[in-house]
Every structure is written in structure tokens, then in C-alpha cells.
């Protein structure tokens, strides 16, 4: 029975049940719009869910800095949710603009203590999310040892080297962007737009993807699939 389909008719249908207080993983490496599920983010603004915890690599730096976006583009990032007062907390590795002279929506809110931040090194963020998806509740890592991020964390010597204990990250929802998806949710990403998308796919209770191209199930070579369908719950077509 290959008519099975996880495709939703509209962005709104795919995300309308996201309640207040949800934790949501949203990809977008952050240095440009690649991999960012812009339509799902816009939809999330429309439904207006409040007190969200957003987990991602940046706290939305693309719109304010122009990094990685083309002139005249209408690309958006999670700043529109922050501006709309929907976000209570960000978990990210690269929360502010590289230059202190540019204030992102996040940094403005953060400076006024209107939003919380959990700062996580990028590799630890990826590994914590992977662990969340892989049933590993906690792991030791050398990253961050003896830095201020190690304060209040357990440390342990293994084979004469110091490590800190980090816990898995999971979320209620993950919002992804893929290049291709078949109807059951086998995904292919383009280039570096795979980065956090492919990791977040496994770590949420409900994973929703917007895909540039939707194919019939069976049109993708089994060897070329980046994210197997097991991780995907809902699919919508990405529109420009």
C-alpha cells in the first residue's frame, strides 16, 4: 500500500495544533536562509502560539545582518516570532550578530530581559539533539571543559582527560526544510542545508517538514535518502 501519505493540504493544517508552551526545534544554520523552514515559521506566527522554547543554531541573525541572503530577498528567520512576543526562551550556539553594532530582535529582547537564553556550543547542541533522537539520555564531552559553560555541570576524568556531562535535548515539534520528500517522508536535503535539519528530524514528538519538491513514494533511490521516513510525521509543499 504505497498510497500512504503524510502530506497535509496547507502549512496551516500542518501546524495549527501547536499549543502555547511548546518546545520547537527549527533548523536554519542561521548564516543565511538555507535549510530554514520559512513557510512553517510564517505559519507559526499566524497561529500565534505563545511562550515557545525555540531550539536552533542561531537566535535569528539572518534578517538583521543580511549574512548569507541575497540583495532584495524577502527571507525571514525566527526573529519574526520574537518580534511577535511568541518566544520565552532560545537554546542556541550563535545567538547574536557577529558585530556588536547590529542588534537582532533576539538581542534587543535579551538586553531587556524579555527572553531567556541557554547557550550551547554548536557541536554539543548537535550531539544533544542526536542523543535525544537516539535514546541516549546523557553523554560525556570534552567541549566546554573549564569554561563558564561547565559551571554547575558534572565533570569526570576518563583515561586522564576531563569531560563534562551533557543531557539529551528533545522537543515537542521539529520544523524542517528539505529539498525533496516523497509522500511517506523520505527526505533529501541540498548542500549544507542538511546540517541541523537531519539531526532535529529524530528528536521531536512531531516532525513537520516543508519540502521544495514532493515526489511519489519510490522515486528516490534508497541509497540517496538523507532522512528516512520513520522520523517524519507531516509534510507540506514549500512555496516561494
Amino acid at each position: 500500500m504505497t498510497n500512504y501519505s503524510k502530506i497535509y493540504k496547507s502549512t496551516h493544517e500542518a501546524i495549527k495544533d501547536i499549543p502555547d508552551n511548546s518546545s520547537i526545534m527549527i533548523d536554519g544554520f542561521g548564516a543565511g536562509p538555507g535549510g530554514t523552514p520559512q513557510n512553517l515559521i510564517k505559519g507559526l506566527k499566524k497561529i500565534g502560539s505563545k511562550n515557545l522554547i525555540i531550539i536552533g543554531n542561531t537566535a535569528g541573525i539572518t534578517m538583521a545582518t543580511g549574512i548569507g541572503i541575497k540583495e532584495g530577498s524577502k527571507d525571514i528567520d525566527i526573529s519574526i516570532l520574537i518580534d511577535n512576543n511568541q518566544v520565552k526562551k532560545i537554546i542556541a550556539s550563535y545567538p547574536v550578530a557577529p558585530s556588536p553594532s547590529i542588534l537582532t530582535s533576539f538581542e534587543k529582547a535579551f538586553n531587556k530581559n524579555e527572553i531567556e537564553l541557554e547557550l550551547v556550543p554548536q557541536g554539543t547542541l548537535a550531539e544533544r539533539i542526536r542523543a535525544g533522537g537516539a535514546g541516549i539520555p546523557a553523554f560525556y564531552t570534552p567541549t566546554g571543559v573549564k569554561t563558564e559553560l561547565a559551571n554547575n555541570k558534572e565533570s569526570r576524568i576518563i583515561n586522564n582527560k576531563e569531560y563534562i556531562l551533557e543531557y539529551a535535548l528533545k522537543a515537542d515539534y521539529a520544523l524542517l526544510k528539505s529539498h525533496k520528500s516523497d509522500k511517506i517522508g523520505n527526505l533529501i536535503y541540498k548542500g549544507t542545508s542538511r546540517n541541523f535539519n537531519a539531526v532535529m528530524a529524530s528528536a521531536a514528538n512531531i516532525t513537520i517538514v516543508e519540502s521544495e519538491i514532493i515526489l511519489e513514494t519510490g522515486e528516490i533511490d534508497p541509497h540517496h535518502i538523507h532522512t528516512p521516513a520513520i522520523y517524519i510525521n507531516r509534510i507540506v509543499k514549500s512555496y516561494e
Binding site: 544554520f29 543565511g32 550556539s93 547574536v96 554548536q122 557541536g123 549544507t192
Partner: protein
Amino acid sequence: MNNKNKLSREAIAMRVTKELHNGNVVNLGIGIPTLCPQFIDPDKFIMYHSESGVLNYGEMASERREDTNLINAGGQYLSWDNPGMSVFDSAESFAMIRGGHIDVAVLGAYQISTQGNLANWKLTNRKSGNIGGAMDLAIGAKKLIIAMEHIDKKGNIKLVNKCSLPITGSKCVNTIVTDIAVIEIINECMVLKEILPGWGIQDVQEITEPKLIIDKNLKEIQL
């Protein structure tokens, strides 16, 4: 003293490339490190890695062929044309870094202590800074080279006895290439290996807080 000649950012990058060997996997941070590839000896094969999830990338993309789906960690567009390039997810990208598969990382710095501690993610006048991949690279790369100006734009000393800024990694810096010197950190000492012509040892020491150990084969900086 500050009127003396200093290396340009390009020349610092040029000196760094002498530390990159045939077959090395290299990760380049934002700023001066990004300038390195143009100065690599064409006989050397270097595999560049970027945290964004790409290995063995090549040139930047020409303006007509920029693709937001192929960027380095700094958001610069890469070319699709480099033979042997691969793309992967962030867990894999940082498995490569943390797992010791990067031969050399080249980063910038705010401060470096004589123990080899690196501070490059947060300034005191800002409520947050960006870590990105820096903490992983600092402790994961087999060799960590810092490429930077010897003192900052306001004249503050960057090579210090103890970092006053929050550190990125502990005892992680191996080599420092500045606009006036090449310094190696050996047994928690800063060892002056090379010096820019026109600069005396004392001149360098005056803008370096830790007592420099002078290498017995101290040389002029070779570009």
C-alpha cells in the same frame, strides 16, 4: 614602537599556510584564517572542513552561481565545483571535529594565556557572545593555530598571563601567528620562534604580558 612595520592580514594568512601540510584536513575560522587558501602552495592538497557541514570545499562561488544551500560557517557561498566535496549533517560535522579528525584549525582570538587558554567568544561589554563551533574546534583539532594582530585596535595586550575574558578552551593553543611574531606554546610557556624584521625581542616583549622564552633558533618570519 607602534610605528614599526607590521604584517598585513594577508601576510599573516600567508605565514599560517606554511603550517598546513599536504593531505591535512583544515578548518578556517572567520577573519584572517579565511584568507589562507589563496596562499597555499598549489602542490599541497588540503581538505577544508566547515562546521556548516561540508568537506573539501574549494573556491567561493562566483556571484552568478551563489546558492544559499552551500555555505561555509561564516555564511559565504561556496562553489559546487570542487572535485571530491561531500556534505553531511551537523552531528557528523562535529563528530569530525570532536573526534580528532581535523588536523589543523585556524582561529582568531581576543586573548591567549601562557597556559594556552583561548578567549575568543565573548566580550565583557555585551550580555551574550557567540560560541558557534569555536569551543569544539578549540579542543578537537589536533593542532590549533591562532592568526591575529598582536595587540587589539585600542592597543590592549592580547597575549596575557591569565585571560580576563571568558575562555573558549583550556590549554588548547599550539601556535600563534601575529603581525609581528610567531609564538609557540610549549609546556605552558610562550616561546618566541620568529620575529618580524625591524622588531627586537624587547619590542615584542613590551606588548606581550607573559615573559617570552626565546627559541635558540629564533628566526626572521619567513613568508
